[in-house]
């Protein structure tokens, strides 16, 4: 009875069909990235650095508890939301705040400076990001796993497998959609996509690698071009999505790749990062937060296919 009702509501819905699902999830992802930055700034402000470092241990642990709850669930939509939230939490706490502690407090790194005619100014590449830049080899090593994993369903890695002639050797995937736990998949996706996009930006911003002159400019122009084309291509695919859960998962890389160009634009001071200055832009950030909550609510209340809410999945 319920399944029929859900099917009917999905079929009758004039709102929740392409391209609305894709647009809403994409915009939600951009808001989520911006608000993630804001949240970190607010935590630092409210708790102070020393307390933040200690609190981040427990906040990260709370993220794992959340993930545990999501992994146990049979509801794909809930799994996706929880995986995403837990991934963001772990990234902010066990990655960014931990690197911050290592860079600023434990190792005593000094900030990277930008030299100009007006004298030195502190660069936006803070010690934690200098540490993060050093993790590129680790990231590439881990991405090798997904490249050579026959069970990966990520379109990018499937494309790699096809181009590298791996598909025959790897054989067919042993897992069907019902075998997959979307909480842990979304969790790992959130972390790896965020890590990849950070590394991408950090490498292109590193004056030790690209200098600060014409090569730096050219590399970052190319970076913006690639980010626009890549995210644009993925966005055009996202617009065709019907299922909320699948669209949410796909919107994570689309939003993050697009954000690479946002980071370049802010590096060039084309606009102000209002999300890291919430005190100066209270009204604007309140509106963004309100819009984010509204989109989350809309997506939570949107009609779902039975397969998204746990029906038809193995017990």
């Amino acid at each position: 009875m319920t399944t029929v009702a859900i099917n009917n509501s999905l079929g009758e819905s004039k709102l929740w069909k392409p391209p609305i699902v894709g647009i809403v999830t994409f915009v939600l992802m951009l808001f989520a990235i911006a608000l993630g930055h804001t949240l970190m700034v607010l935590i630092e402000h409210w708790l102070g650095h020393e307390t933040t470092y200690i609190a981040s241990i427990f906040l990260g642990a709370a993220g794992i508890v959340l993930l545990w709850y999501g992994v146990k669930s049979k509801n794909e939509n809930l799994q996706t939301w929880i995986g995403f939230l837990a991934g963001l939490t772990i990234w902010m706490t066990w990655v960014e705040f931990f690197y911050m502690w290592y860079g600023r407090a434990n190792w005593g790194m000094v900030p990277r400076m930008i030299m100009s005619d007006d004298g030195p100014t502190v660069s936006g590449t803070y010690p934690e990001y200098m540490v993060m830049g050093a993790t590129i080899g680790l990231l590439l090593m881990q991405l090798c796993f997904y490249t050579f994993d026959k069970d990966t369903r990520c379109n990018m890695f499937l494309w790699f497998q096809k181009k590298l002639g791996l598909q025959e050797g790897l054989g067919p995937s042993t897992k069907t959609a019902k075998d997959r736990n979307y909480a842990i998949i979304t969790f790992m996706e959130t972390i790896y996509v965020t890590w990849f996009c950070y590394a991408w930006n950090l490498l292109c911003f590193d004056p030790g690698l690209v200098g600060a002159g014409e090569f730096y400019f050219a590399i970052n122009m190319a970076s913006v071009f690639v980010a626009f084309v890549w995210s644009g291509y993925c966005f055009s695919r996202l617009l065709k999505f019907k299922r909320i859960s699948t669209a949410l998962r796909y919107a994570i890389p689309v939003g993050s790749i697009f954000w690479v160009s946002v980071e370049v634009a802010t590096k060039w001071k084309l606009f102000t990062e209002i999300w890291i200055h919430p005190w100066d832009y209270k009204i604007e950030m309140t509106v963004v937060f309100g819009a984010f909550l509204s989109l989350v609510l809309l997506l939570v209340l949107a009609p779902k296919k039975p397969s998204e809410v746990g029906r038809g999945r193995p017990a």
Binding site: V110, P111, R112, M113
Partner: protein, 124 residues
């Protein structure tokens, strides 16, 4: 008198030129953090560095200060602190760097070298 003033102006001009040249020679590797000459940095910049890299920035200036005090007195910072202890003062990393940080916070227009000199007046 005029010769002395001319000589003084010439020396100043030569120092300016040599400063510009040495600043260029002292340019840090591009990816490295910090500044080439922390003693010639304004307290305003130092204060901003303190927000992002407090421990490293404090240590950077204290290292500069150790060289300055050694050049002035021929003593290492430990010898200076020990001498100060006998005179009833107690100094450690936190209090030494804390003095420099407080000085710069109070006077952002000053150079960090002024903070070091001010601390030196209490130590030496």
């Amino acid at each position: 008198m005029i010769r002395s003033i001319s000589l003084f102006v010439l020396m100043g001009f030569a120092m300016l030129l040599s400063n510009a040249a040495s600043a260029e020679k002292l340019k840090l590797p591009a990816g490295m953090g910090g500044v080439a000459d922390i003693g010639a940095t304004s307290c305003d910049v130092f204060n901003k560095m303190m927000v992002i890299g407090p421990l490293g920035t404090k240590r950077l200036l204290l290292t500069w200060a150790q060289g300055y005090y050694h050049a002035k007195s021929g003593k290492t910072i430990n010898e200076i602190i020990e001498a100060a202890e006998k005179a009833g003062q107690a100094w450690d990393f936190d209090s030494l760097t804390g003095h420099l940080v407080d000085y710069c916070a109070a006077d952002p227009d000053a150079l960090t070298s002024a903070a070091v000199i001010n601390l030196g007046e209490q130590l030496l």
